[in-house]
Symmetry: C2
Subunit: 232 residues, 2 copies
């Protein structure tokens, strides 16, 4: 079956005065959301609505450095102004998710405090509004070691399996698969990013036709436990 990825256009600017679910419901209405459609929302508008925003005071670079350190539980690497840090959620990313792009002037945006909870709250509201269960992914843009460029990944998930476990599945020849865990929530976030564009102000997309399993996946399922990690 085909997958269709529909950008949510005409989403207005969001501030802490806004109800993010209402904003998304209004933007979703023209698409007639159906049970199983997956909503991918970039975290920026979620963070803004939740007040995960700080007003810059004093020297901007110094302010940012302190903010990043406050958001971090450990610094993985540091080179010049770039800090690769582990956040309180366990995510490893540049500047612990602190970012100025698409922030209101004079402010910086943080990651949502509990992106899984944010996703879940939005999903419940969508269910009320549309009478349909739409899994929700909250995404962010992360870099990767060894590869140039960034991709969108899932930091919050509600209503679908985030990491698909294929253990026991076999290939066409009957041989057990060596690749056993697929980060489908990250792939959905990446797919959604293709219709958003960082500069275009499209903060969400609906993925229609996804056949992967529903369930109680979480963004934290995508965080590799420290003892399995060879790069910390």
């Amino acid at each position: 079956m085909n997958l269709e990825i529909c950008p949510l256009v005409d989403v207005p600017e969001v501030s802490s005065a806004d109800d993010i679910a209402s904003v998304l419901i209004t933007a979703l209405e023209p698409l007639n959301p159906r049970d199983g459609d997956v909503l991918v929302v970039t975290h920026k508008i979620v963070s803004k609505a939740e007040g995960a925003v700080r007003t810059i005071t004093g020297d901007e670079e110094e302010f940012k450095r302190r903010l990043v350190e406050g958001e971090s539980v450990s610094i993985i690497r540091r080179r010049g102004e770039l800090i690769i840090a582990e956040t309180k959620h366990g995510f490893v990313c540049a500047n612990a998710g602190v970012d100025r792009s698409n922030a209101a002037p004079g402010t910086m945006i943080l990651l949502p405090k509990d992106p899984d909870r944010s996703a879940h709250r939005i999903r419940l509201r969508l269910q009320q509004a549309f009478g349909a269960d739409l899994p929700v992914i909250i995404s962010d843009t992360f870099g990767r070691p060894w590869r140039r460029g960034l991709t969108d990944i899932a930091i919050g998930v509600s209503g679908l399996i985030a990491v698909l476990d294929l253990r026991g599945s076999t290939d066409w020849s009957g041989r057990e698969l060596e690749v056993t865990e697929i980060a489908v929530a990250d792939e959905l976030a990446a797919a959604a990013d293709l219709v958003m564009g960082k500069a275009d102000g499209i903060p969400a997309a609906l993925v229609r036709g996804y056949q992967g399993p529903r369930g109680d996946g979480r963004g934290s399922d995508l965080v590799r436990p420290v003892d399995e990690d060879l790069f910390r």
Copy 2:
């Protein structure tokens, strides 16, 4: 504009006796490919058609270990049977891309020798067959530090920009974006994987409606130069 991702169904098993472009052209015909549609092909069938396959002799684990070492220019990490290695292409991945899943019994599959060239050759043949320019991506499934699960990424590219450079672009407030390079070819590969499924035997997908720039991108554009890399 919406993005549509269409799995290529009914692709037969491929061996070194097959012309991979012909196989793909036959599978694409029902989709009436149009100029700008992006074809994503998993490397496995390309490797098989190009003979990048080895017959196992002697002890299987020992054979694999030697094969992995032969495909590597450096070993980045080793834990038990898992080797994270840099391939001759510069990719950093598990077992230098050597894999048994979906291989014919008694064989192991390697990465194509020059995936960009493989992509380019397929693209030229599609152009002849359909009179349309279809960018081609050859994908593989890679793990990532810090995150559980694997995602598909692009190892070979022809006909589109692989890493989108947004330097100089501004956000809605007029501020220059901090995120400047998007690995769109990797996001296209990830999106395509959502309709393939490792166990379903669907080795390719067509992405329709992608609005990113065409051009002479290459899979090697996605390899981070060693001197920029903090994790080697």
